[in-house]
């Protein structure tokens, strides 16, 4: 069983809503950086897996997945 998927995407969406209004850097990168800083490797893996599996998500969240650091296999 994995981490409740709607919740991870919901949390990432909230981040996207914040970072999209910030001028410093592209929102997807900022969302991914925040995820990398604060989520455990398993949560990150689950999140990326869900996005890859086609979970419905905000475009920024979808793009952010590419910048999320995954634990070494």
């Amino acid at each position: 069983m994995s981490h409740d998927h709607s919740k991870l995407i919901r949390m990432a969406t909230q981040m996207a809503q914040f970072f999209t209004s910030q001028p410093d850097r592209p929102a997807p990168e900022a969302v991914a950086a925040h995820i990398n800083e604060s989520w455990s490797p398993r949560m990150r893996q689950d999140f990326v897996d869900q996005i890859r599996a086609g979970a419905e998500a905000d475009p920024i969240v979808r793009e952010a997945a590419a910048f999320v650091r995954l634990p070494a296999a």
Binding site: S2, H3, S21, E37, S38, S40
Partner: protein
């Protein structure tokens, strides 16, 4: 431990600040004091105690008792030394024949109307009237017995002047028979506490201390039981019931209060290992001799009959508890934790540190996770209160902490209070703020509810912006727009301390019409003109400060709100000077400390990210283990992972997550899904209902360590009595760690602090020796600031330049609709603390025996709810029942309650929404419906059933 046997000396009148020094002679001794000082205080500085009754350095001089008269060369008559200011070259004689005679006459009059039952009086040995009679050499009272206030009856019958004792307050007794009407109590209630509950009724011989109206006793009056009156009373008129029962104390242990984040210093007055009374320390730098009802009186929980002092275990959470030896409990715990890791991986277990425990205890618990469990699954209850403060202030200023000390409030011209209720949550700070408000400082309150601070007696103008819960960011952004649009910002400050281009970008963002007060009025339901007025007032004040609480942080945009607050302070230059700043009011005693000590899953002590190789290298060297560079799980993530079957074990010290965390059903399901839950606490709290191991904890009176308050002040906690459970809490953690293979050898918390200092740059100067010497220090404390840092960001921000973060309002997902048309917001009350585990086990329940739902009259009428009715409070998460109180303190559409009582469990209703940056739960906004009810909800029944089952303890076999 018994080093502090001399209580602080009373200097007679308060200290005065002045740049001018005045020189005088007192009894031939030259003294230099600040201009404006009283002759009495100058004499005290010279080491001479002038006899006095109505004077005390807690309150300003009054000059009523005439006992403190002195002779001053060149002055006519005998001036009262308490009300006479010093003058250059003054020559004072504190004892002459004339002075002595006048004083004797005064004392004789006092004693003529005072009972002479000194031997059996509760103040025997601690009575200033008795001391003064001795000091002035009173040897006889020449007056015949006559009209008096103290005799119950005389030959003719009952004495009409006699009034019986008022024993309505559970903690102190008022005995009018012993009153000398010095009015110290009345002045303390006004000047120190700021409540103005007490007064002197009548005139002349009829003068009496009164708790308000004739029909009022101390309990029914406005009295908030802070005890300031009891502390200053020179006789047995107002005295602690514990002193009446036990007698006078024989030694003092200086320590720190274990309630809110103000962190008051206390003198524990002891007789043997028994507390006689708690007296706030005059030299306490946070509280300066004041306290509230919790700190001064509500410590009886430490010896409450429900205190659990023996370790217990059980196989399943539905089994009864089995009392076992420490060895068995620790083996059971260690084996199951290791088993979980063997079966489900290294990351399957974690810890929750406590904001109620000491820095040293917290440090060891996070070290247990990092160095012994080999993961970073450590979090603290600060997650659910002030984690957005950490994120927000670190991003904007560079430090996860408040900027100022509490003393700074004395210099503020305007206080902007946001989402905080200081008179209830941080009472001693509220008293200090009220004092400043009486001196003329302005007040702006942003809060859905009309808080008591707005009703401070004798304050100037107070603006209340009763915004809809969840609209903080919109409101603060609109205020910022007004400041920019009307060019009220401090350009010089911004250019020097921040990035001007970044400010211009923020200004452009702000000027969009969507941030205009008129637009925000539609969301927040606060008139645009009021928003403008508040913004102008904040920007116009020469020194404006911001104080905020959980009404800021506990939102889906908690972190954004903290950054909006920082923006306001930066654009108006309100940083780096006394009287300004951004000051989070921390909930629990050691919220600041638990965050500082590396409780968060992504940060080592001193807020250094776990991925930082240099920091890891420091700990790897000291701890001798390899450390994980990956962030661990936050509390809500732990619950989610538990429900996913991947998180199996938890060690929870001194927190009651079942009651304090949102969405109770979610929490209890998560705990029920774990293989091993270890609770360390004083009581079988609600979380223990889901635990397999109970490790008994120690109270703050039973241990050594340090707490760090909201102003970053590290205060000493000192052991006043032997732990009833046998160990201080840090020792229990060490025992558990060693059972799991660590080889820790700490013998005293000072060694733990030494390790913290060795590994954490902002603490490198901190040591127990320094704390003993200085009383307390505020971090950063290191080579650059050897005695600590009262004010931060004086010459520049810690991060370099202050950062303006854009603050777009995003509405919370928690919205009202047809099913749940009202917004619930939660808070707390003066007499209770957090989940109430401590205060519910004290006499404080007389003030707040249950949680009550506040509802506006129109909402109540629509639902047929009457005052005192039982109502059902339901959200999409769950429902509970409680009684309703109809009041206009809440706006229509908003309801309010507290979460102090487990029978109500307001958190059954709150949801799993959380702050975007930190997962701090959105306690302050829940869409709810309220309807009349005639019994407990299904959840309450179900919970009570499990709770009864889970709290059973098997009788121990007779030996």
């Amino acid at each position: 431990m018994k080093d502090f046997i001399i209580p602080d000396r009373d200097m007679g009148t308060p200290a005065v600040k002045s740049d001018v020094t005045v020189n005088l002679l007192v009894d031939g001794i030259p003294v230099s004091v600040p201009a404006g000082t009283s002759v009495m205080r100058a004499a005290a500085v010279a080491g001479i105690s002038v006899p006095k009754l109505c004077a005390t350095d807690h309150v300003s001089a009054f000059g009523s008792c005439r006992l403190c008269v002195v002779q001053i060369d060149g002055m006519r008559g005998l001036p009262a030394s308490c009300t006479t200011p010093v003058a250059e070259g003054m020559v004072v004689h504190t004892q002459t024949d004339e002075v002595a005679q006048v004083r004797k006459g005064v004392m004789e009059l006092y004693i003529s109307d005072h009972p002479l039952d000194c031997l059996t009086c509760a103040a025997n040995g601690d009575c200033e009237l008795q001391d003064m009679a001795g000091a002035v050499g009173l040897r006889e009272v020449r007056y015949e017995p006559g009209k008096n206030h103290f005799a119950r009856r005389d030959a003719e019958g009952p004495n009409p002047e006699y009034r019986p004792k008022d024993q309505s307050n559970p903690y102190f007794t008022f005995d009018p028979a012993k009153c000398i009407v010095c009015s110290r109590c009345v002045r303390a209630c006004e000047e120190v506490q700021g409540t103005f509950a007490l007064t002197i009724e009548g005139r002349g011989f009829d003068s009496r201390v009164s708790a308000g109206l004739a029909s009022d006793d101390f309990l029914s009056s406005d009295c908030v039981s802070c005890g300031a009156c009891v502390q200053v009373c020179p006789t047995a008129t107002l005295i602690e019931n514990s002193v009446i029962q036990i007698g006078t104390p024989e030694h003092i242990v200086k320590t720190t209060c274990a309630y809110c984040g103000v962190g008051c210093s206390f003198d524990a007055h002891m007789r043997g290992e028994e507390v006689v009374r708690m007296v706030p320390s005059k030299d306490g730098k946070a509280n300066h001799g004041h306290s509230c009802v919790k700190g001064r009186f509500a410590w009886g929980y430490a010896t409450h009959r429900e205190r659990q002092t023996q370790p217990m275990v059980r196989e399943r959470i539905t089994d009864p508890w089995r009392v076992v030896s420490w060895d068995e409990a620790l083996d059971f715990a260690a084996t199951r934790l290791r088993q979980a890791q063997a079966d489900f991986g290294r990351d399957s277990i974690g810890v929750i540190t406590s904001s109620r425990c000491t820095n040293e205890e917290t440090y060891l618990v996070q070290k247990l996770a990092r160095a012994v469990f080999h993961n970073n699954n450590t979090d603290t209850c600060a997650r659910v209160c002030h984690s957005p403060t950490g994120y927000g202030l670190k991003t904007t200023f560079g430090t996860s902490a408040g900027t100022h000390d509490f003393d700074s409030v004395d210099d503020t011209d305007l206080a902007l209070v946001i989402g905080a209720n200081p008179t209830d949550g941080h009472p001693v700070f509220a008293s200090r703020l009220r004092k400043r408000l009486r001196e003329g400082a302005g007040l702006i309150v942003l809060d859905p509810r009309e808080i008591d601070l707005l009703k401070s007696p004798h304050m100037g103008e107070g603006l209340h912006l009763p915004l809809r819960p969840g609209t903080n960011v919109a409101m603060l952004t609109a205020m910022a727009q007004v400041i920019v649009a009307e060019k009220l910002y401090d350009e010089a400050f911004i250019r020097e301390r921040c990035d001007w281009d970044e400010f211009l970008a923020y200004a452009e963002f702000l000027m969009d019409p969507r941030h205009a007060p008129e637009e925000v009025e539609k969301l927040a339901r606060v008139p645009a003109e009021l928003i403008r007025k508040a913004a102008r007032a904040y920007a116009a004040a020469p020194r404006a400060s911001i104080y905020y609480g959980l009404g800021v942080t506990e939102h889906s945009q908690g972190s954004t709100t903290v950054m909006a607050i920082a923006n306001l302070a930066m654009m108006t230059g309100n940083i780096g000077r006394p009287g300004t700043g951004v000051n989070p009011l921390r909930g629990q005693n050691n919220v600041q400390g638990s965050c500082d000590m590396g409780s968060f899953p992504h940060e080592y002590p001193g807020y250094r990210h776990v991925s930082d190789p240099e920091t890891r290298a420091i700990y790897e060297r000291i701890w001798g283990v390899e450390l994980s560079p990956e962030p661990g799980l936050r509390i809500p993530n732990m619950f989610d992972e538990a429900l996913a079957g991947r998180f199996r074990g938890l060690y929870c010290q001194g927190e009651d997550i079942v009651q304090s965390d949102p969405d109770t059903r979610h929490v209890t399901s998560a705990l029920s899904a774990m293989d091993i839950v270890i609770v360390q606490d004083l009581f079988l709290n609600e979380t223990a209902n889901y635990a397999h191991v109970f490790l008994p904890g120690s109270s703050f009176l039973e241990k050594n360590g340090t707490f760090t308050n909201a102003e970053r002040r590290i205060n000493m906690v000192r052991r006043a009595m032997t732990p009833k459970n046998g160990y201080e809490d840090w020792e229990v953690t060490q025992l558990l760690a060693n059972r799991m293979g660590a080889a820790w050898t700490y013998v005293h918390p000072r060694e733990i602090m030494a390790e913290i200092a060795l590994t954490t740059p902002s603490f490198s100067g901190v040591s127990y020796d320094l704390l003993e010497r200085e009383g307390s220090v505020q971090w950063p404390c290191n080579d650059k600031a050897p005695l600590g840092t009262p004010l931060m960001h004086i010459d520049g921000f810690v991060r370099g330049r202050g950062k303006f973060v854009h603050t777009e309002y995003v509405a919370t997902e928690e919205r009202t609709g047809a099913r749940f048309p009202l917004l619930l917001t939660t808070g707390r009350i003066l007499s209770q603390y957090n989940v109430g585990a401590q205060t519910r086990r004290t006499e404080n329940v007389v003030w707040h025996p249950e949680d009550i739902l506040e509802i506006h009259p129109s909402d109540a009428e629509n639902r047929g709810v009457r005052e005192g009715d039982w109502v059902r409070l339901a959200s999409r998460s769950g429902d509970t029942t409680l009684r309703a109180h109809i009041t206009e303190r809440v706006a229509p559409g908003v309801v309010y309650t507290t979460f102090h009582h487990p029978t109500t469990q307001a958190n059954v209703v709150t949801t799993d929404n959380s702050d975007w940056a930190t997962n701090c739960p959105e306690f302050k906004v829940t869409a709810v419906q309220v309807s009349p009810s005639n019994g407990p909800s299904d959840w309450q029944e179900e919970y009570r059933h499990h709770s009864d089952l889970a709290r059973r303890i098997l009788p121990t076999a007779a030996e």
